[in-house]
Subunit: 203 residues, 2 copies
Amino acid sequence: MIKVPGEMPAYTYGEAAVATSPVSLEELEQLKISVGFTADDERYLRKAGEVLEGQTNQIVAHWRSGIIASIPNLAQHSRTLEGDPIPKYLAQSNLRFEQWILDTCLRPYDQDWLNYQQEIALRHTSLKKNRVDGVQSTPYVPFRDIAAFVAVLNDTIQPYLASRGNPAAEVAAMHRAWCRSLQLQMALWARVYMDLAKTKSEW
Amino acid sequence: MIKVPGEMPAYTYGEAAVATSPVSLEELEQLKISVGFTADDERYLRKAGEVLEGQTNQIVAHWRSGIIASIPNLAQHSRTLEGDPIPKYLAQSNLRFEQWILDTCLRPYDQDWLNYQQEIALRHTSLKKNRVDGVQSTPYVPFRDIAAFVAVLNDTIQPYLASRGNPAAEVAAMHRAWCRSLQLQMALWARVYMDLAKTKSEW
């Protein structure tokens, strides 16, 4: 279910506090064409959202505890600089991680969505990481690790898409739409890191 | 088959003229971990290379004539600034595109490979695009279009991987390895665009 801002910590989708993306809706449309994202994909993402809706807790646990936690290079980004867990940070960002799955599937890719892509990326850079949760952790998540982890997100979402007995062709179409969306999002996140790179590389 | 430099125009894999990547082998190892790339994936990429070897001409034709040519935003990058075709440029870069498929599958991911990732990215930026082929075309390919097109490359390679009758599980494993490699490469290409972004954004 799409959450209303305020229902979870620091989830500000569509709020005025979220800055306008420097990417135009026209550029977004062109990007959709480059990635092959069509109205069919929107339709299949809605279906994917219905399929994933009750599973987001399990999926994020799989990503966080099942994968990220065992990769020190990634796990450090939700820990203190001394390497201690920060349960509140993890809990809050996990909730938003869950919501991101649903936003990916169920939101229209409009100006609010575009703006929130920027917000998501900013929260992984030194410009905003740690702030919204009031924690002290690594200053940023390098772009390369986000780009790399997209492959993991794409791969591991498959069984969850298939878990509700949808026909194989439909599961494949949902997965294709998901992969296109993630690549699109990753391209948008890259913009934030590249703008930042004028003064500071967080590659 | 892995080509020897000199066998095709401006293919300089492993040559001294290729600059050393600013990315260390240690960073590459960490990236492999983030993307989930294992020795199994290397093995499946070798298999994929065997499967794709006789099909690279057809695959690149599919990408270029079947997809890129119909997307003006992408097609422009192999045309003159007036929009006219440059057959020599297309022919030469297509040969290297074919070879890239094989290098992705068959090369060890060592220092030479790392250096050539940088060279590939540079040849899409204003620092090197057009030069090696001596043509006048768009000054660069925006990073976002490369990132987006990776989703197309990942999606469309599937039938070619499946076309030689390998068992479905093996095809899936080859595809997983391919997707991991492409995400890894894309993360490396991003480094070149981010270094460049200090002075000039080609996002």
